[in-house]
Symmetry: C2
Subunit: 261 residues, 2 copies
């Protein structure tokens, strides 16, 4: 099977122009087929506050009302997505920036919840693997914004980690997938205060043990659950580590690796 890298970058690198630019240079140079999924960064929050739109959060999740949806669509699918694409083009990587609505890439539905109305937040139903395969075969690298849509024509706000996971799972029928979650830490750490305490490999037994002993930092659990769900559903390898070290993450010299068992 041919290899495909699906790489997710988070807000911390998007907010840092210099770090983002050097990350994109490395991404552009990654050989073979690749997809980039980006999160949001602080610009949406900043814009919303400048425009006097109040942000509501429940359990660390943004409640997306109509005005917030407008802002995130502008910032994520417009400003961030197009700037990443233009920079990749300048680095000789033929990128194409898409939201979930484009080419029917990711269809979702509005989140249903008994007590909380999350507003325009989308839970993913389908990923259009034919579209992605066609674009990759034409040597394009897809840059996906964390915006999906539903069949009524409403755009929806969707977590970028989830998009990366769902895309990786769906594309695993066509490619050997390496899914890279890059963030601000060096990998999964045994001691959150010690950047060198990277756990190089975790399997499901070891993960259960670490969780039982409460050795996993709470903030890491959704990311790791995501990773294990991915490898349990056909993804070959998940790597978690620092965006600035993308090259080393790919070569396997740093970060935390989770393999299909």
């Amino acid at each position: 099977m041919e290899k495909l890298y699906i790489i997710k970058i988070g807000g911390n690198i998007i907010d840092d122009e210099i770090k983002l630019s050097s990350f994109l240079k490395v991404f552009a140079a990654v050989e073979g087929k690749k997809i980039l999924i980006h999160g949001g960064g602080k610009l949406a929050t900043k814009m919303a506050s400048q425009l006097g739109i109040e942000q509501q959060m429940i359990d660390g999740r943004r409640i997306t009302d109509a005005e917030t949806l407008k802002i995130v669509t502008m910032v994520y699918a417009g400003y961030i997505n197009k700037n990443i694409v233009a920079q990749l083009q300048a680095n000789h990587c033929n990128a194409i920036g898409l939201s979930g609505a484009d080419g029917n890439m990711i269809k979702a539905h509005k989140r249903k919840h008994n007590t909380i109305d999350y507003g325009f937040v989308g839970d993913i139903d389908t990923v259009n693997i034919d579209l992605l395969q066609n674009l990759l075969n034409k040597n394009m690298s897809v840059v996906a914004a964390p915006i999906t849509y539903d069949e009524c024509g409403s755009l929806l706000n969707t977590n970028a980690d989830t998009i990366a996971q769902e895309m990786a799972k769906a594309m695993s029928s066509l490619y050997e997938i390496t899914l890279i979650y890059s963030f601000e830490k060096n990998g999964v750490l045994l001691d959150v205060n010690d950047d060198d305490s990277i756990i190089p490999h975790i399997n499901s037994v070891y993960y259960a043990e670490l969780k039982k002993k409460q050795l996993i930092f709470a903030g890491m659990i959704p990311k790791l659950d995501n990773a294990f769900a991915a490898v349990a559903n056909g993804v070959h390898t998940v790597i978690i580590g620092k965006a600035e070290e993308l090259k080393e993450l790919i070569s396997g010299t740093t970060g935390t690796t989770i393999k299909h068992e």
Copy 2:
């Protein structure tokens, strides 16, 4: 040669949610291959003023400084483009929304001018006909935002009429092109105050005569010059008329038609 419709809609329809939605229903139902190019509308100006960014205009053209570029990228390539795409998808038209940077669709350069610095305004160099043909062959309808880019990775603001013209010219090597400029009038009018005074057909001789007699409304001249440049460069037919009458424009029962001579 297979037919391709390239349809441009302007700001007046984009600003009107109801008109836009009914236009998109008709666009979705147009049979065969089609591309939609949209302009900006008033949202960018409104957002800029809410954010305290002053707009500079020279000869009716927006001077695009870095802050304005940020706004137009967000509004045109983000909000407007993605909402059009999501609505088309809901109408069973598999749309894909792109800026010039996406898939290297439209490469441009910063406008050079002896006395005026237009800022981040792009004049078009190349249109990627392979990309467009590939997407059209996969039954996708491209929705192009009026944003291009240069080889340094800078996004650029580009007039949507010009994008439509350049795209139509470039694609005329592959398709029989009908280029439709839709705007707020019924077509080219002999008397601007009489909506029924549509000139159904204009050729270059008649156009020269009308211009000489000053019978063409000044605001129409750039649009008509654009149309004649298109038919002089391979475009089969240009139709100018009202967005609300797209169906009738295509069937030839209203609007002004300019044919390749």
